[in-house]
């Protein structure tokens, strides 16, 4: 996974609450067996609207998306994280995120930043009203700032931060505990009632 340290980019506003993963990547694109190439289908139904951000030159190349609460709710499809990443987003800022999406984003090098609603509203306003509005997101310092005096601290689970900073593969990390896993599995297997095969 691609490490995340600092991103400085134009900010894309998406002023909607409860953006579900069905909207981020509709079901017809889940039939593919690849992990890449989903960016062109990001927000497939909403991008039909001419005003939608993907159709506005001012947001091209943006790596930071700001949205309202409960972003990523619904289906567990990791395709939502793949589509955001493939489109170019490295960071999503919102007041709250749904749990499964939160986990999926972290495993794909996307930083999710939780900020209070009033800060998010401020950023949504700035990004909508000021063309070329940029933010700098530093995972190393756990800060966000613009060039006009806005600055906020955020916090993220230390382990998730470490993995994002280093771009670490979860499976490799888990396999450091292979001995504990073998030992656990040996005694756990004896509990016949947990073994699926009768």
């Amino acid at each position: 996974m691609q490490p995340f340290r600092v991103v400085n980019s134009v900010v894309t506003p998406l002023d909607r609450a409860n953006v579900d993963t069905d909207q981020i990547i509709p079901k017809q694109f889940l039939k593919r067996i690849e992990r890449t190439g989903y960016g062109e289908f990001l927000f497939f139904d909403w991008r039909r609207e001419p005003e939608f951000f993907v159709n506005q030159p001012r947001y091209q190349g943006s790596q930071i998306l700001v949205a309202a609460k409960n972003f990523g709710c619904g289906s567990s499809r990791e395709h939502a994280a793949w589509a955001l990443f493939d489109y170019g987003f490295r960071c999503v800022i919102a007041p709250t995120f749904a749990d499964i999406f939160h986990s999926n984003a972290g495993k794909n090098g996307i930083l999710l930043v939780t900020l209070p609603e009033k800060d998010v509203d401020h950023l949504l306003g700035q990004a909508s009203h000021h063309e070329g509005y940029r933010l700098t997101v530093s995972l190393e310092n756990e800060t966000i700032h613009d060039d006009h005096g806005f600055e906020a601290k955020f916090s993220i689970d230390p382990f998730r931060r470490y993995c994002l900073l280093e771009g670490l593969d979860d499976i490799g990390l888990t396999l450091r505990h292979a001995a504990a896993l073998d030992a656990f599995e040996t005694q756990h297997n004896e509990k016949f009632w947990l073994t699926p095969r009768a």
Binding site: I33, A68, S75, D99, K107, F159, L173, T174, W193, A198
Partner: protein, 476 residues
């Protein structure tokens, strides 16, 4: 005496592989359910890294999301869907995973077949690359949906990195009024706490109204836990659970069964155990519910009206309201019973089990589907379909004008050809009313199987509590 524990804590503690400092807990996974949509990239990841699938014997696969539900479905016209299904076949063969393929008698929606085959058992940890894995919590298992990276992680290690969720007990006490179902309990809960009301929590459903439910009803409730944002939903196992599991294919037998039941009886929340949150719902106050908007928290009683934004809503909430009203083409103040429908879908991992089909068949017996309505029943599995046919339910549906289809996820998410056309309005027993979920521009209203069946007959939402049943003796 040891500290009193919740059901969740007991299952969690029995699966701790390691608790490294400053890292998430490693949780052992007993059962990994796999389907065609969220697995190909995970299998590919194993291959790329030269890793094996650690426990094929704890992994079971089926095809459900993409499969057509028409009789001649062995030939799949959608080439991309066909390739995805074929990829699952090849992967299962290469990695030694049992696959219940299209023609297998065990095929069906992954959350229907797990319980009906006896794979799902109390006290287990169960995962699947599908958010409705919460369904299996109805048996006192800790079951939750995961993304594809985690699917690969479980394949490689049989465990997951997990942070410990918070706990939330929702007690539903009292007797459910007639016509009010498990679906209405869970819609009522989501309406009350909101579609993100349980984010970060594992919910335990308790109380006399939950205890009185069948396993099918309990599965409906746990299934929709994710629609309130919960990590998982659980219900403590009891005699109803044991009676359901007895003699299922993968259930233990003889002395092993007795030992298992003795263990399962321990899986109760201890008196005095505490939860991070608690909520009490009075069953008597519940009604049949209908969603009006574009998330499952946007729900009102059948006797209610389409709500509008009010002074008490924030500006953001007002915007969400208006977006939902526009998408759904509804005006505030419209009586729910005055909303006409075009389609009816009875199916999905929420409501496609035998009891759901019986309940819907009972409503439509002696009636016919309304003239312009197209209605379909999609059983959750081959076993459900066979049993329904043995009971004559298929004939009741067909005589009433319903389509009787082959098992799969079907129009719950419309990955196969079963979709709504733009602008069509559907009474659906599924779990999500998101924009475009059942087809681009389609408008979904979530209801119980009984309410969906009644709407099919009258052509609009209808209070099932006033229904005149014609065929009780047929289905005695």
């Amino acid at each position: 005496m040891s500290k009193p524990k919740t059901l969740f804590e007991k299952v969690w503690e029995q699966h701790l592989v390691a608790e490294p400092a400053n890292e998430p807990t490693l949780l052992y996974i007993d059962l990994h359910l796999v389907h065609e949509v969220t697995s190909p990239q995970a299998f590919d990841g194993l291959r790329l890294a030269g890793r094996k699938l650690r426990r094929p014997d704890r992994t079971v696969a089926t095809v459900d999301h993409n499969v057509p539900t028409t009789p001649n479905r062995l030939i799949i016209e959608d080439a991309i869907a066909a390739k995805q299904i074929d990829t699952l076949r090849k992967n299962c063969q290469e990695f030694g995973v049992e696959l219940y393929d299209i023609q297998s008698p065990n095929q069906g929606i992954v959350h229907v077949i797990g319980p009906e085959l006896g794979l799902t058992k109390p006290g287990m940890t169960i995962v699947c690359g599908d958010s409705h894995t919460s369904t299996h919590g109805a048996f006192g298992a800790l079951a939750f949906g995961i993304g594809t990276s985690e699917v690969e992680h479980v394949m490689a290690t049989q465990c997951l990195q997990q942070s410990k969720p918070k706990t939330f007990r929702i007690s539903v006490e009292g007797e459910l009024p007639s016509g009010v179902t498990a679906k209405d309990i869970v819609l009522g809960i989501i309406g009350r706490i909101g579609n993100d009301g349980a984010t970060g929590h594992v919910v335990e459903y308790a109380g006399s109204a939950i205890r009185a439910l069948s396993m099918e009803g309990r599965m409906t409730i746990c299934n929709m836990s994710i629609e309130a944002g919960a990590r998982a939903g659980m219900i403590a196992p009891d005699e109803t659970t044991f009676a359901y599991l007895k003699d299922r294919g993968f259930s233990p037998e003889g002395k092993a069964w007795d030992n298992a039941v003795a263990e399962w009886r321990q899986l109760q929340t201890d008196p005095g155990a505490t939860f991070d949150r608690e909520l009490l719902i009075k069953a008597e106050e519940l009604t049949p519910f209908v969603t009006w908007g574009t998330n499952p928290g946007m729900v009102v009683p059948i006797t209610g009206h389409v709500p509008g934004p009010t002074e008490s809503h924030s500006e953001a909430e007002r915007r969400s309201f208006n977006q939902a009203l526009t998408y759904m083409a509804l005006k505030p103040g419209t009586a729910i019973e005055d909303i006409a429908i075009d389609r009816v879908f009875i199916g999905s991992c929420t409501n496609s089990r035998i009891e759901d089909l019986r309940a819907a068949a009972k409503v439509v017996t002696g009636y016919h589907v309304y003239s312009h309505v197209r209605a379909m029943v999609v059983p959750g599995s081959h076993h459900v379909k066979t049993q329904a046919e043995q009971e004559g339910l298929d004939k009741i549906f067909i005589e009433a004008g319903f389509e009787w289809r082959e098992p799969g996820c079907s129009m719950c998410l419309g990955m196969n050809p079963d979709i709504l056309q733009p602008g069509e309005r559907c009474a659906s027993t599924s779990n999500r009313n998101f924009e475009g979920r059942q087809g681009r521009g389609g408008r979904t209203h979530l209801v119980s199987p009984e309410m969906a069946a009644a709407a099919a007959v009258t052509g609009h939402f209808t209070d099932i509590r006033q229904w005149e049943y014609k065929g009780e003796e047929v289905l005695a």
